[in-house]
Amino acid sequence: MNDNDTVLSVKELQVAFRTRSGEVQGVRNVTFDLKKGEALAIVGESGSGKSVTAQSIMRLIPSPPGMVKGGTIQFNGQNILKKSEKEMEAIRGKEMGMIFQDPMTSLNPTMTIGRQITEVLIKHQNMDKKQARLRAIEMLRLVGLPSPDQRFSQYPHEFSGGMRQRAMIAIALACDPTLLIADEPTTALDVTIQAQILELMKDLQERLGTSIILITHDLGIVADMCDRVIVMYAGKVVEEGTKDEIFKNPKHPYTRGLLRSLPRLDQPKDEPLIPIDGTPPNMANPPIGCAFCDRCDFAMKICTEVDSKMITHSETHASRCWLHHSSYREE
């Protein structure tokens, strides 16, 4: 792996939330890299720490109650966790953009779409109002909104859900960021519109060479547009690999369960979905061993006692499971 190509490097990230029921461990020692122009998917059940990971990269964890307890985040050669709030403001929206799950609530209802785009341009690109307007209209056109001149001065309530998400994409990409983080960008949309939005993101990513972190439930999306996949469970990375490795040769029982349980746009409808039994552990008091062992058909004694390290299967593929330890394989 060439370091010059690495846009983002997250190491041993730990994030916790102080709540009434104790300290909830949102993210536990997450480590991963992202290369220039790469599309990385983070998948996992809800509550597994995907959004917290993404928000940590943008330094958007609400604090209190959230706090980064350890680890480093290296982005474009800068140590994100050491930045002051002011320095972060200069990075957010310029070098990294973010798209959120719910386009109905993620845009300011009392501000025109145009203003919400020009705002970020004026802030980061030293543009005056007129230049920003031209660029914003260009962005609206780029994300496929018809008659962008008119759309520019409309308010979010005059847009449909899909159009709002297009506008969100326009905002996130307006300053041509190195990194785009999309947190379940299509979950709240109609199925037909989901495909259009994904198509658009894929197209723009290829054209602009942006690196993408795509957080999703939907493995169909992953198959469609990502190069690499990280599977998260209970705040940890349990498996990591290229798309082919994850889909064709999943190693962790959780990944296998996930592949059986989640719908895939690219899959024949008649294939049955088998949900994973049980529920994720309570993260205020996470198990010392493997967090998945209660729900795992292959759990061994060691699984309840100590959690496994990441075990390498190939240069790009690794999983966190005792089954693949040479010394336990016979079990």
């Binding site: 958007l60 403001e89 200069a90 959120f100 970020v120 802030k123 005059e158």
Partner: protein
């Protein structure tokens, strides 16, 4: 825009008409006439009075005359204040109530919003707790208690201010405090709770993700959305305050509208009661009207103007 204003105006006129009719017949339904209490009035005089005010005519005729006068903004002659028309009394006393009221409103809005904003920004910190303690007290303490206390200490005891009257600027201080504390407390609580809600909204997170600074976010993104409920409270409150507070006006000896209203009720001054009631209603509706306009200006989702075909969203 024009249509919106027109519709609202028609609405107000209709409501006032209904109200005028209702007060008219309610007044008539009260047994006795206004001259009954005066035992030693000779019968002839009494008959003359009744004739002067038209009470001998059939009810429907009285009603029509009343409506006709109303259209010409003639509310009739007071039945107790000699030779004074109701319109004059209202105009004169309203000047006092309006002056004092406007000062109190401006103070309430500025202080209320400021306190609420600070409390929201320092959520759960000491400042927030103090502010909310103050707000709770402000709501709990009735203004006649507050008015009497500040009058006793600052006017009677330490003589910082005059006890009564509304002659020079310093006379405004105590009644303004007495009038403003409750609205300040209300606005502060309202501002705080809506700002807290707005600040945790998704679009605020979006603004942060765009790299917008927190002060700009507060002013540009949060305030406008957070002030909507405050605006809807301020409208009726304004009407309430400028029409004069009975309590505060009597404590501080101000010859305002509130004072005349109590007087008219205890005097059975029918024409004055009806006049002031209608005036109150008109002010209230006008305030509502302004609120609606303000609301529509702040929130684009409220359809005020009919823009050609805009709002059609398609996939």
């Amino acid at each position: 825009m024009i249509r919106f204003l027109l519709r609202k105006t028609v609405n107000i006129v209709l409501s006032l008409f209904v109200l005028a009719t209702a007060t008219f017949f309610l007044m008539k339904a009260i047994p006795g006439d206004p001259f009954m209490q005066e035992k030693n009035v000779p019968d002839v005089v009494r008959q003359n009075l009744i004739k002067f005010y038209g009470f001998d005519k059939p009810m429907w005729e009285q009603y029509l005359v009343y409506l006709n006068n109303l259209i010409h903004l003639d509310l009739g002659m007071s039945m107790r204040q000699q030779y004074q028309s109701v319109s004059d009394i209202i105009a004169r006393s309203f000047t006092y109530s309006l002056q004092l009221g406007l000062v109190a409103i401006v103070v309430s809005i500025i202080v209320g919003i400021a306190v609420g904003l600070i409390a929201a920004l320092y959520h759960r910190k000491l400042i927030d707790k103090l502010a909310m303690l103050f707000a709770t007290l402000g709501i709990a303490v009735p203004n006649f208690v507050l008015g009497t206390i500040i009058q006793y200490y600052f006017a009677n005891k330490f003589r910082f201010f005059d006890v009564a009257g509304l002659n020079d600027p310093s006379d405004f201080v105590l009644p303004t405090i007495a009038l403003s504390v409750l609205p300040i407390a209300f606005i502060a609580r309202l501002t705080r709770s809506t700002m807290l809600e707005v600040l945790s909204a998704d679009y605020i997170r979006t603004a942060k993700a765009k790299g917008i600074g927190s002060l700009t976010i507060l002013i540009r993104h949060a305030l406008r959305n957070g002030l909507l409920p405050v605006v809807s409270y301020v409208g009726p409150m304004t009407a309430n305050i400028i029409t004069g507070s009975v309590v505060v006006e009597s404590i501080f000896g101000i010859a305002g509208l509130g004072k005349f209203f109590t007087m008219s009720v205890s005097n059975r001054d029918y024409t004055l009661i009806m006049g002031i009631t209608l005036f109150y209603a008109a002010i209230l509706m006008f305030a509502r009207f302004l609120t609606d306009i303000a609301y529509a200006l702040i929130d684009p989702r409220i359809k005020m103007m009919k823009k050609g075909g805009g709002g059609h969203a398609a996939g």
